[in-house]
């Protein structure tokens, strides 16, 4: 394990395997803090974290907010619907204004893919990506991988299957980058219209038939059908989607018997996953939420305790 030098966490693509392992090691030890009588450490006292959400989010935002608070940082929540953005202010002007508060970390969710590389030039703060368009959602993938590592004891040589709306999914992309760094095989499966060509170039195995894709899988990551991002043209009907791509008890039998099923939530029951699987999935989903908090604490710790003069632009 090496010392941490990155100022921002924008993409899993840019993190080394060793950096990912450092995050996991710290997250593992952070889980204990949430079980204490005083669930808080003074580590980031006096630091200001701004949750800058230009897109709606409840889970990710509350997870980041609690993570920052458990480390004693001051947290400001900024969401686009309640801000001057709705009055026409540009995103860059908004960031420049917030700069007057001297924030240390900006946790940003934004609809524009890969726009954080531009935004980071307009602030002295560190940036943590909480989802940028269709590009990446690094902390979600980190918590998925961490949960897999806890359950399987390893991230090496697994067959990881990602099912659903791959096209719109930053979670899929981040997970692909992440799992590949540990020499696991990643398969993606979904309707042809929802798997862009570029994915074949990323070294993943592409399937359009779930029954074939699921064979011998160690891990299945089910993605939510993002109805808010569908203009209705990607598959003929929800009924057809369910028929072909819904995870059912019968289909799971084709995967490895100890196969792990993950879902970033919120779940559309009986669309991407049969509700008869509720009992099997619930404990894992709660585990993901708990691990998500620890991962976000680890990320905030690593970039929040950097030396002040870290002019590293990575």
């Amino acid at each position: 394990m090496e010392g941490w030098t990155k100022k921002h966490i924008i993409a899993l693509k840019d993190l080394s395997r060793s950096e990912i392992e450092t995050i996991f090691s710290i997250a593992q030890n952070f889980k204990e803090i949430s079980q204490r009588e005083v669930k808080k450490t003074p580590t980031l006292r006096g630091k200001t974290v701004i949750n800058l959400f230009f897109e709606n989010s409840t889970r990710t935002r509350t997870s980041f907010e609690l993570a920052a608070k458990r480390l004693s940082a001051d947290v400001l929540n900024f969401s686009s619907s309640a801000s001057s953005l709705s009055k026409g202010e540009s995103i860059i002007d908004t960031i420049k204004n917030l700069e007057s508060y001297h924030p240390d970390i900006l946790v940003v969710r934004i609809g524009l893919s890969a726009s954080l590389e531009v935004l980071k030039k307009h602030t002295r703060a560190s940036i943590v990506n909480a989802g940028d368009g269709k590009n990446e959602h690094p902390t979600q993938a980190l918590l998925d991988m961490f949960t897999v590592k806890e359950a399987k004891g390893t991230l090496e040589d697994l067959k990881v299957l990602i099912v659903g709306d791959i096209l719109h999914s930053r979670v899929a992309r981040s997970n692909i980058f992440g799992f590949q760094k540990f020499s696991s095989t990643v398969r993606v499966c979904g309707p042809q219209t929802l798997i862009p060509y570029e994915f074949e170039k990323m070294g993943v195995e592409v399937f359009y038939d779930l029954d074939a894709a699921i064979k011998d899988a160690d891990v299945i990551i089910m993605l939510r059908i993002q109805r808010e991002r569908q203009s209705g043209m990607f598959f003929p009907s929800i009924r057809e989607y369910v028929e072909k791509f819904s995870l059912t008890p019968a289909r799971i039998k084709k995967a490895k018997s100890n196969c792990l099923i993950l879902h970033p939530g919120p779940i559309n029951w009986d669309i991407e996953i049969s509700s008869t699987l509720k009992e099997r999935l619930h404990p894992l989903i709660l585990r993901q939420v708990e691990n998500g908090l620890a991962i976000r604490m680890a990320v905030l710790y690593l970039i929040g305790t950097q030396k002040k003069d870290n002019e590293n632009t990575n």
């Binding site: 010392g3 030890n29 803090i33 808080k40 450490t41 003074p42 480390l71």
Partner: protein, 183 residues
Amino acid sequence: MEGFREKTCVLSAQDIKRTLYRLAHQILEKTPDTGLLALIGIQTRGVFIAQRLKNIIKEVEGIELPLGILDITLYRDDLTTVGPSPLVKETKINFDINDKVVILIDDVLFTGRTVRAALDEITDFGRPKRVELLVLIDRGHRELPIRADFVGKNIPTAKTELVEVRLNEIDKKEEVVVLTPAS
């Protein structure tokens, strides 16, 4: 340690063993009501010393004291000045510390800053009846008003020197040495 050379060996393996037996007896002498006692070792070598004291107390008194592990990284006062963020090790205190006599254990007492951090962290787990500090080596140069209740050995050092406690559990050696700058 690079840039340093060994000056003296201040405790041999046999010395360490004798010292720990003495310290264990001192703990018991001061708090005869052993039901109140709990040991908490500070990562990394403090944990091994705590484990050994627990074993000695079991041997001489026939009781199992609760043993906790404390990593003080998150309570350090120099986190943003030390460079790359230090790794966070395990903290595990799975017993109730309220109204206990906590023996806080570390290998070397130097500036006192680690102990300050440890005291703050312990407070987040509850309110012990008393906290007492046990160290194998006190080398002086305090920067905070902190003193130890149980000391294995006092060693006068120059501030530029290093004291290394080497324990079989992780160092495959058993000794305490003073290192001095090579130049």
